[in-house]
Symmetry: C2
């Protein structure tokens, strides 16, 4: 019975996130979380925030956090928007900025939440095929019309688009908005944030869930021209005044004060990625070049879905997408050294190597 539903509800195809199973001793390499937890500075800030002030609403403008992010990226606070994880930031971006006369363009192989947002907000879109090496080629975005969005590095491929290519696209289409979703940028990419100073048609989205180890706290942000931020604020303030709670905000601020931890853990992830990439290639896998905290791999003989199942039976969780062009690929998040070794050991068992 659904007589009370708004009409839109019937047509939605909700996003399905990677599993968060409650099984101990699982090697969880399925949702691109950071294998290293937040620093002691962050944990201490959270413990400090456990006090009487939780009875009060948070700052609806998140001024301190915005100021911290602005300082970190050398932009003005009026160029910063914050939200409940980059997924909420993206939801507001889709509603506030991506419903245009022409269709929104994004890669055919990309973050699978994009078409979901489009359905929710009634946004027309068209996908542009990544090339045969699974690379985003911005020159291919020739369709007349609306805005562009793509993740850089792209998910689930790990492919990095250069700043030169992004700059060229901004210049080619000064009247069309380009959103760069940089969830994984800190694992070896170069952020497009500095380009926001010269290009009013660029919005960059980042998250604290990956490189800053705070997936459990839900903090994401966007950086761009204040007019773009204004649109996001209008939608946010028509939706929920206080999306970020007091604890999440102090933890996020503290995270930016511990750059050493941030740098060191990112470097460890990158080092492990290179080791696992080499080890997988030794085992016959094709591994796409990755600038993210995951690898996208395929095996010439073994079926990806079967491999994923066999790994699961050995308590190793990775992500497999039943989707055209990539159904023979597995996305493997980079874990600790011990987790990576368990993955490789399980594969040896399965492949009989």
């Amino acid at each position: 019975m659904s007589q009370f539903w708004s009409p839109i509800v019937h047509s939605l195809t909700p996003y399905v996130p990677g599993e968060q199973p409650r099984i101990n001793n699982l090697v969880k390499l399925n949702t691109n979380e950071n294998p290293y937890g937040p620093s002691e500075t962050v944990l201490a800030a959270i413990r400090d925030a456990a006090n009487d002030s939780l009875r009060l609403y948070p700052d609806p403008h998140a001024s301190e956090l915005k100021g911290t992010i602005a300082d970190h990226h050398s932009v003005k606070a009026t160029s910063v928007f914050v939200g409940n994880g980059s997924d909420e930031v993206l939801a507001h971006v889709f509603m506030a900025l991506l419903k245009q006369d022409g269709p929104l363009l994004f890669p055919d192989v990309t973050y699978s939440f994009y078409p979901t947002y489009c359905k929710l907000f009634g946004i027309q879109y068209q996908t542009v095929p990544v090339n045969e090496r699974f690379e985003v080629e911005l020159e291919d975005y020739t369709e007349a019309g609306g805005a562009f969005i793509f993740p850089n590095p792209n998910a689930p491929t790990g492919h990095l688009t250069s700043l030169d290519a992004i700059r060229a696209q901004l210049v080619r289409h000064p009247d069309r908005l380009l959103v760069v979703d940089e969830a994984y940028i800190d694992f070896g990419g170069e952020s497009a944030v500095p380009l926001t100073r010269d290009h009013a048609n660029l919005l960059v989205v980042q998250t604290m869930s990956k490189s800053r180890s705070l997936a459990g706290l839900r903090v994401g942000y966007a950086i761009g021209h204040p007019d773009l931020i204004d649109a996001l604020e209008r939608v946010k303030n028509s939706f929920n005044s206080y999306p970020l709670d007091r604890v999440a905000m102090v933890a996020a601020v503290a995270s930016f004060k511990d750059e050493e931890w941030f740098r060191t853990t990112c470097e460890r992830v990158v080092k492990s990625r290179e080791r696992v990439s080499a080890a997988l290639q030794q085992r016959g896998f094709t591994v796409l070049p990755s600038h993210a905290n995951f690898l996208f791999v395929t095996h010439p003989v073994h079926d990806a879905a079967e491999l994923a199942l066999a790994l699961r039976e050995r308590a190793v969780l990775i992500r497999h997408f039943r989707q055209p062009r990539i159904e023979q690929f597995m996305r493997i998040s980079i874990g600790t050294d011990a987790e990576c070794d368990k993955l490789l050991g399980a594969l040896d068992e399965i492949l009989g190597t």
Copy 2:
């Protein structure tokens, strides 16, 4: 410059929450927060949650929290939806359930976020005047058409609608959805949650921000027939997989385990409300009967806006709405005994009593 905005953005009228000033020693009676903070049980749970697991995403289904809420209200977990504060829950309710063929009906004097949601989601609405005693009379909701929503107790009036009146409305209009927004129900009202078992056209929304002292953590929920919850989940999962962070969820669960604290603090607020109500009446104010943690008051001689300003000059913050019918009223949240005394002392100074 707004050439990149989606068309909807131009027409929005964002909600303006009560101020959250960063001034010490302010008597803050403007946003209906609980004067008593969360219990030690809750604070200990937050401190415990400050650990390595914050690197992991939260449970997107919030199963433990839903189970706890379901147990507390003696409903099934499939009847519970949770969100980032009841404002986010309401946003999803408006989008998923209140966009119907006929106009949505709500009181002319009520929570001022409702028309904002309507603009955001393109929902037609019509307001129904509260009566001359500022009471919601559900029999007046005769306009053919869509769904109904009202807060019970109503904000900012504090007026409580009886369960009998709600039941009668549900029976009168079995084909129309009634949403009861119970943000303030624990300060002397009777919840309509038990009616959800027999009435598939009833959805009840509650928050942990008021009676449970957790405004700083952003947890709200809705209870109703699983088909209604299904619609909310579909929209939520098309918007943001993880709106509730790990810390907020463990704190919320812990709160339900400390019923003694909850009961005691609610009782203290109610007792203070009655004392302040009597004291204000002694000072010549008309005080509407309140079942919430605030009073809605007017003075026969003194202008409400001027009183609000004079109180502010004395570091006492209350809320004044520049709005037809209620511009001569002030909404005063109930504080600690000391805060209430400061309010009364400041009024004595201003009124010269």
